[in-house]
Symmetry: C2
Subunit: 240 residues, 2 copies
């Protein structure tokens, strides 16, 4: 009797492969059969069909809308993130970036923010919360904390659009060095609301600490990118 056989592949995974075959070559937006239809065709339960489709949605290969149907998703957006800003990065790729201001306040730094920005807890920081869009589609939820108060910040930002441009041109703050931390997370209710994604969808959460030429913190940001639509690129050259 065989003892070292590979563990049986789950049925939902086989079904996943089937569906991948179904959608190969189809145009983004094309509707695929309904869950109930697939369950019938492949002689399985809707639960199993949903598990297969849920993973394909998480991988960015399918999308779905309640009451409407499940469809082939558009390809991922690649995003270069170096010393530049979101808007500059996007424009460099010929994409139309946009930004929706959610809130802008001066608040007291909490523990985590104070540590990153080298402040005492409670000192004033500017908190900027935005939704980032590419080609009109919400792609990331971003909260940035900047040390101190920035006079007339809101109007400057509205005019320039790019945070880094405003910091450099208006306030003389130039980013010379950044440290990005990338990890995975799963979408909770707030992410669902702000980004229009599914509960439990995978996110790429990026924390960025930007410093000026003297090493002084300029910006501490948490960005939650849709993992199904986004790809992060970083280029590094050796000093020379």
């Amino acid at each position: 009797m065989p003892t070292d056989v590979a563990p049986a592949t789950p049925k939902y995974y086989l079904l996943k492969t089937e569906v991948l075959g179904l959608i190969a070559g189809l145009q983004p937006g094309t509707l695929i059969p309904t869950e109930r239809a697939l369950a019938g065709r492949y002689a399985t339960s809707r639960t199993t069909v949903r598990q297969a489709i849920s993973e394909l949605v998480a991988e960015g290969k399918l999308g779905r809308i309640q009451g409407h149907g499940t469809f082939v998703a558009p390809p991922k957006v690649t995003h270069v993130r170096q010393l530049t800003s979101f808007s500059d990065d996007a424009r460099n790729q010929g994409l139309r970036p946009d930004s929706r201001l959610v809130s802008l306040d001066v608040v007291g730094a909490d523990d985590g923010v104070a540590v990153r920005l080298g402040l005492e807890q409670g000192q004033p920081v500017t908190r900027l919360e935005r939704i980032r869009l590419i080609e009109g589609e919400p792609l990331a939820h971003e909260v940035a904390w900047l040390p101190g108060r920035l006079p007339r910040f809101k109007s400057h930002l509205a005019k320039a659009g790019s945070l880094y441009a405003v910091l450099a041109d208006v306030y003389g703050l130039r980013v010379a060095e950044v440290e990005d931390t990338v990890e995975t997370a799963l979408a909770g209710p707030e992410d669902v609301r702000l980004l229009g994604i599914e509960m439990g969808a995978p996110l790429l959460v990026v924390h960025r600490l930007a410093r000026d030429a003297n090493g002084a913190p300029v910006e501490w940001t948490r960005s939650a990118f849709r993992g199904d639509r986004f790809r992060f690129v970083s280029r590094v050259k050796s000093g020379g």
Copy 2:
């Protein structure tokens, strides 16, 4: 009647919060109640309990072993990734890296590999497949393609351990520039087998193209890191 009420939070998400409360402050490795016990305690079905726990596992907060139980997971490992190799990166943080050779062959370049390395399809490339471990724990599955044949490569690699060290010291290939692409993916059967993770677990998939000082490709690598145990850091300074 209210029309703009927030959509009801799913029960499994509430349960997730409950379980997070349960494990707050517990030591890694501590067993939590069984799925059947939780279903009873919170008056819900095992299906719902499993959905909640599955997300906590995906987030790296819990782990589970069939036949044993579900337990509090150890914290994520932060991994700095610069121009250096996996082993150097890890050692710089005081972590004990290790590497398990899966296979090493000279093969004909397929389409994707040929494009990245600037070769014709079918030209010989060295294919190196390894499992990367930190503190004895499998953390990543890595496949590297290097242009051409590398004489006595296997023994050199076994001696030095670090790929980049061998390339530099033995073959005079020095990496001067890398481009990393990071995206999310879900674990399939092979990832499950090689990394000992769950089906559908989130992965951080990194593609790296490394070039020498002349811009010639030196290495094309696909690495699949466990998203539940791993955090990726990249530092960038402006050319000074």
